[in-house]
Structure formats: C-alpha cells, structure tokens
C-alpha cells in the first residue's frame, strides 16, 4: 500500500522543513552563533547592507582559517528597520530562536536603548555603533561595548575644529534625537572656551518636509557658521533651503548625514563648502584596507566598526576558551592588552592566542580600548569638505 499524503499533511511537512534543517545542522557542527542587528530599511537603510557584508566576510575569513576553538562561526542577520518596536522583535528572534552569543551593529540610538535590556537580561553581549551618551549609562552590567565615540567626545572635537576654522558666531540646528541637546551643550562649552559665540540651537522634527521657519529663526541671529546635527533625509532639505535663503556662511555636519551619496543627489552648488566630520577609521591600518577590499569602496565608519565587533567577539571567545555571552563579557577587554603583540586581524590574533600569547587588537576603527562603562577611550576624526560635488579630505586628527 502506498501512502499518499493529504494536502494538509504536505503543507505541514513543507512548513516544518526549515526547522528540521536547523536541528540537523546544530547536531553536526555546533557553530558559534553571532547575530547582526543592523538597519536594512528605514532611515539607516543605507548603512546596514554594507555592515552585514563586512561582518559576513570577517566570519568567512575566520572560518576558512579553521574557526574559533575548532568551531565554525555562524552569522545570523536581522533587520531592525531603524525602529525600536521592530528592533525588539528582531532581537528576540536572534536571542530566543537563534541563541546568539552576541549581537553586533545596532545603529540608531533608540533601537540600541530598546534592545539593550533584552541583552543584559539574557547575558548576550551587545556591540553598538550608536552615539547617544545615555546608552552606556544604562545599568548594563558590562554587556554593552560601543566603538562609536560618544557625543561628548565628538562634539568637543568638532567644536575645536570650528574654533580653529575662524568662525565667530555659531548657530545649531539639530534633529530631534537622544543626543541633540547633549551635543549642542558640549559644543557651546568648547566654543566659549575658544572665544567663539554660540548663538543658540533649534531642535526640529526630522520627519518634517520643510524647515523654512527654523532656518528663518536661525538666520535672524546672523551666524557665520551653522552646526547641522542632522540625518540624511532632513539635511538634504536643510541644505537646499539654506541655499535658497542665500546663506553663505560655513556649515558643519556629521559624515553619517552628509553621505557621499547625498553629494551625488543634490546640485554641487548646494553643498559646496560643506564640512563633514566623522570619527575616522585608522586609514593606514591593514584592517581598514581589508574592509575597503570587502566593500570595493571607501568604507563608512560603521562598516569599519562592525569589522572590529566581529573580530573582538572571536578573539574574546578564543581568549576565554569558551563561547557564550558571559565569556565575551569577561574577556573583551583582555584582547586589547597593551602588553600583548599588536594584531590587526582576527585570524592573526587567533593564531597567537592559540599559542598562549597575549594580543593587542587594533581594528579598522582604531585601538579597541574601552572604559569601564563600555565607551571607546579615544579615536581619530576626519574632516572633509565638499567641492564640486565630491569630498576632499581636509585633515585627520
């Protein structure tokens, strides 16, 4: 007698297939699971795909060289949709279903803030590129590591640059973000110390389609420099409207807002002279060259940082001799050991660790030394100016 499955049975079997595959795989190899939670859609959607590409390439390199502790690493990628509500559900999947040891790459500060409690409750390490100061002030018990310099460090540096650039009166226009107010306060503090007058700051809703009233208000104070603390969609509008309003002073903004793509999409006149500022990856480092090779283009800071996230995770597990969020938590600072041999790739580091030697990992974003709160201790910054629709590097300091 032959058994002919009914339609319903066939459907059930088909639905169960992906889960069966996963079980069989787990029993054979027991890979180490690492999650990436990056924005593939939404406001951060232009950064996420590159980040995942780099993370995947680093994992492939490590696996090709024999893995960590004899085990392969498996990368699971989820989309946070640049939205905290969806981000929490995506993180739930990574933690509860995929059972990852660590989550790398959260980008928007609101997403990181929402996901962080899930991570420390479940003893999963969270590596983030978000900038808001309040993130590392959460009661995270050491489960957050941030490679992005915080607002205090960034705003202080940009203010110093503005002082050196001979601006005299600076007005701020900030998109409503968790770090808008902190940013401006720190900027104003350093500007005052350099005898530059901070005129004030307007915090606006980035979702608006016009900023005429904000610009009128700003220009009424007669600034000769504007600090645009924005994201890409709103700065596009701001720059166009400033151009139309005939503003001819200096404009400073963050590199994540004025992306090279933005320069391609707006007329060159509109962005001419715009100075953009970004935490600089270590341009001379072989790790940076690797990220550039993977992307086939000049990497953004986040792609460089996620390279370091994945490398740090692999090295910490090797150093600890065990996988799991707790192992990474306990040993992540031990692989940036100042007394160890300097390495710029996870593979070199893993070899040394296997021989029982100490390593000092310096990645594509620079030295990976973290404060007890999980913030990066210091980093380099780069300044670019837009000229004829392209960026020209001004300085790295």
């Amino acid at each position: 007698m032959t058994i002919i499955p009914t339609r319903r049975q066939a459907m059930l079997a088909a639905l169960a297939m992906p889960f069966l595959g996963r079980v069989a795989q787990g029993a054979a190899a027991e890979p180490i699971l690492i999650g990436t939670l990056t924005p593939q859609t939404g406001a951060g959607g232009s950064f996420g795909p590159g980040m995942v590409k780099v993370a995947k390439a680093v994992v492939d390199d490590i696996n090709a060289a024999g893995g960590v502790l004899g085990r392969k690493i498996e990368l699971v990628s989820a989309d946070d949709e640049t939205n905290p509500d969806a981000g929490v559900r995506a993180a739930r999947k990574l933690i509860d279903v995929n059972k990852v040891d660590a989550i790398a790459g959260t980008w928007a500060s609101a997403v990181t803030m929402a996901v962080a409690p899930l991570c420390w409750d479940n003893k999963v390490m969270l590596f983030t590129v978000s900038g808001a100061d309040s993130i590392t002030k959460l009661p995270h018990q050491g489960y957050i590591i941030r490679t992005q310099p915080n607002t205090y460090l960034q705003s202080g540096r940009i203010a110093k640059y503005i002082v050196g650039d001979k601006a005299t009166k600076v007005f701020g226009l900030s998109a409503q973000t968790p770090f808008a107010v902190d940013s401006y306060n720190r900027l104003a503090e350093v500007l005052k110390a350099g005898n530059v007058e901070p005129l004030g700051d307007i915090v606006y809703d980035a979702a608006k389609t016009s900023f005429r009233s904000e610009i009128d208000q700003a220009l009424k104070t007669k600034p000769d420099a504007l600090f645009l603390n924005s994201y890409t969609p709103d700065i596009t509008v701001l720059l166009r409207e400033l151009f139309r309003a005939g503003y001819e002073g200096k404009r400073y903004t963050f590199g994540y807002a004025a992306t090279p793509k933005l320069l391609e999409n707006v007329p060159a006149d509109v962005v001419e002279g715009l100075v953009s500022f970004a935490p600089s990856p270590d341009l001379g480092s072989p790790a940076y060259a690797r990220v550039k090779r993977i992307l086939g283009a000049e990497p953004d800071p986040y792609a460089a940082q996620i390279h370091d996230h994945i490398s740090l995770i692999a090295l910490s597990i090797a150093k600890a001799g065990a996988s799991g969020g707790v192992a990474i938590h306990d040993f992540v600072r031990a692989v940036g050991d100042a007394g160890g041999t300097k390495v710029t790739s996870a593979i070199d580091g893993l070899k040394l660790l296997a021989d029982g030697k100490a390593v000092n990992f310096e990645g594509a974003s620079g030295p990976c030394k973290f404060t007890p709160l999980g913030d990066i201790e210091d980093c380099k910054f780069r300044f670019d100016v837009a000229e004829k629709g392209k960026y020209r590097l001004l300085s790295i300091s």
Partner: protein, 302 residues
C-alpha cells in the same frame, strides 16, 4: 524557540487589544481613528511615569493609564464632533503626532527622545526571561479575552445597536431620538481607554518607552489588523492582530528558507510579501476574515 513564540504572542496580544479598542470607535461607531497610537502612547507614558517617578504600584498605574486614555479620547471626540470620514482621519492622525512630538520635547517630564528606561515588569526580576514571557502572555491574552467578551456583550446591547445606527446613518439615529454626540463621546472614551490600557501593559513589558516607538506605523498595522480580521467583530479584531504579527514576524525566517539572498534583499522581499498578503486578503474578503453579522429586518416575513 518557546520564549520567542511567547514574546510574539505577547506582541500579538498588544495588537489585538488595540484592535479591540479601535473596533469600538471605528468598527461600531464608524469614527475613523488614525490616532490610536497616540492613546497607546498616553497610556504607556502614564504608566511608565507613575511607576518610575512616583513608584506607584503597577495595577494603579494601569488603571490610571486607561483613565488617561479615556479622558483624552473623550476630549478629542468633543473637539472633532463635527468632523466625519477623511477629515476626522486627518485630525486624529495629527493628534497622535502631537502626542509623539510632545513626548519628544517635554524633556523635563518624558526624558525626550532618550525615553524612559528601567520600567519594572510584573515579576520580571523573580522570573527567567522564559517565565516572564509566559506570565505576560497569559496576562495579556487574559485581558484580551475579558475585553473581547465585555465589548462583545456591549456590542449586542442596546448601546451597541445605537452605535451601529450612528455608523450607518447619524441623521436617522438623531431623528429616532438618540443623543448622537453623547454616544460618540462615550464610544471614543471607551475605545481610547482600552488603547491606553494596552499602552500601559506595553510599557511594563518592554521596560522602555521612547517617542520613536509610537510612530504612525503602529496605527497602520492595527488598522490593517482590524480591516483584515473584519471590522465590527471582536473575533475579527483578534484574528487580524495575530495575522499581522504572523506576517511581519514570520517573514523574518525567510533567510532560513532562502539562504542565497543578502539581508537587504530579504528585507525588501519581506516588505513586498507583507504588502502582497494584505492586498490579497482584502481583495479576496473585503469584509474581513470574520464578517460582521447584523440582524436585518426581514421584510418578506411581514
């Protein structure tokens, strides 16, 4: 996996509760409310602030959240008394954006875009993450069941009949001697109270609220849930909510089925699939999965 499924059941519960609240306002009384996430936010912030800043017991906070939602709902209903259809939709959408912008800007109260973190959850510290999800899934679906039963009774009562009469033709209801505005205000207050209560539970479940969490997207999802499930019916509201979560979250597993695609392609495919599925459902069953059954006077029988 169990913990994940429970967490998704909790989210489906939030959506179901919101769909039930919306059902009173829109499904029964016919007032299009695209500002429901605003009431949800008011409830969430009320409960979060009471428990974090004033250390009020959680249950009291939940009650206060429902009342805050109700009061806001009643006020909005009075303000929009003369608006109908698209105009009401626009004003209510504006209302929810006002709530979100207020939460972003009144930093002294709401913490601005930093939000409010470390909101306690019922038994969170004492339970494992799995246990907490289990307790919360039981709690939320218990609340959903009680609310659905109560609202179901209400819908079958004379009060519900008047609301449906107003929905079908306000003029006729008024001519029949029903105080239309009073009924509308009561329906709005009741629905908004349910939305506020849902917000309170959401705040205590997530442990974190921020203005970014209350984007109009949630409104759209809940409206879709109710439309797909069937407006006017409590079972439809619940079924639709489960369906929307199953669609948005189920598609996250696409990468297991289609390993060859890059995450950005998966993300695009997800959005396309969710959209297509909803279009298919609404084309196939425009009245929703569970159609409303109302008693119609049988003229032939007379």
């Amino acid at each position: 996996m169990a913990s994940y499924l429970l967490a998704m059941a909790v989210f489906a519960g939030f959506y179901a509760l919101m769909a039930l609240g919306l059902n009173v306002i829109w499904g029964l009384a016919g007032m299009i409310n695209l500002g429901l996430v605003g009431f949800f936010a008011i409830g969430a912030y009320t409960a979060a602030l009471l428990s974090v800043k004033l250390h009020v017991p959680m249950l009291v906070g939940w009650g206060a959240a429902a009342i805050a939602g109700s009061v806001a709902g009643a006020l909005l209903a009075v303000v929009t008394a003369r608006l109908k259809g698209d105009y009401l939709a626009i004003v209510t959408l504006g209302f929810s954006e006002i709530v979100r912008l207020t939460a972003s800007n009144e930093i002294w109260l709401t913490g601005g875009t930093d939000g409010i973190s470390a909101i306690p959850g019922p038994f969170r510290g004492a339970l494992s993450p799995l246990g907490f999800n289990l307790v919360f899934a039981g709690l939320i679906w218990g609340v959903v069941a009680v609310t659905a039963l109560a609202l179901g009774r209400l819908s079958a009562s004379p009060f519900g009949r008047v609301l449906r009469a107003i929905r079908e033709d306000e003029m006729v209801a008024a001519v029949a001697g029903k105080p239309v505005l009073a009924f509308k205000v009561r329906a709005f207050a009741l629905g908004a109270g349910v939305l506020g209560f849902a917000g309170a539970l959401y705040a205590h479940y997530n442990g974190y609220v921020a203005p970014d969490a209350f984007q109009p997207l949630i409104t759209i999802y809940v409206v879709l849930a109710l439309t797909a499930g069937g407006t006017g019916t409590m079972r439809g509201a619940m079924l639709g909510a489960v369906l929307v979560i199953a669609l948005t979250e189920g598609t996250r597993f696409l990468d297991d089925v289609l390993p060859g695609l890059a995450p950005v392609q998966i993300a695009a495919l997800r959005e396309a699939l969710i959209g297509t599925a909803l279009i298919v459902i609404l084309t196939w069953r425009p009245q929703g999965l569970v159609a409303e059954r109302t008693r119609v006077l049988q003229l032939e029988a007379l």
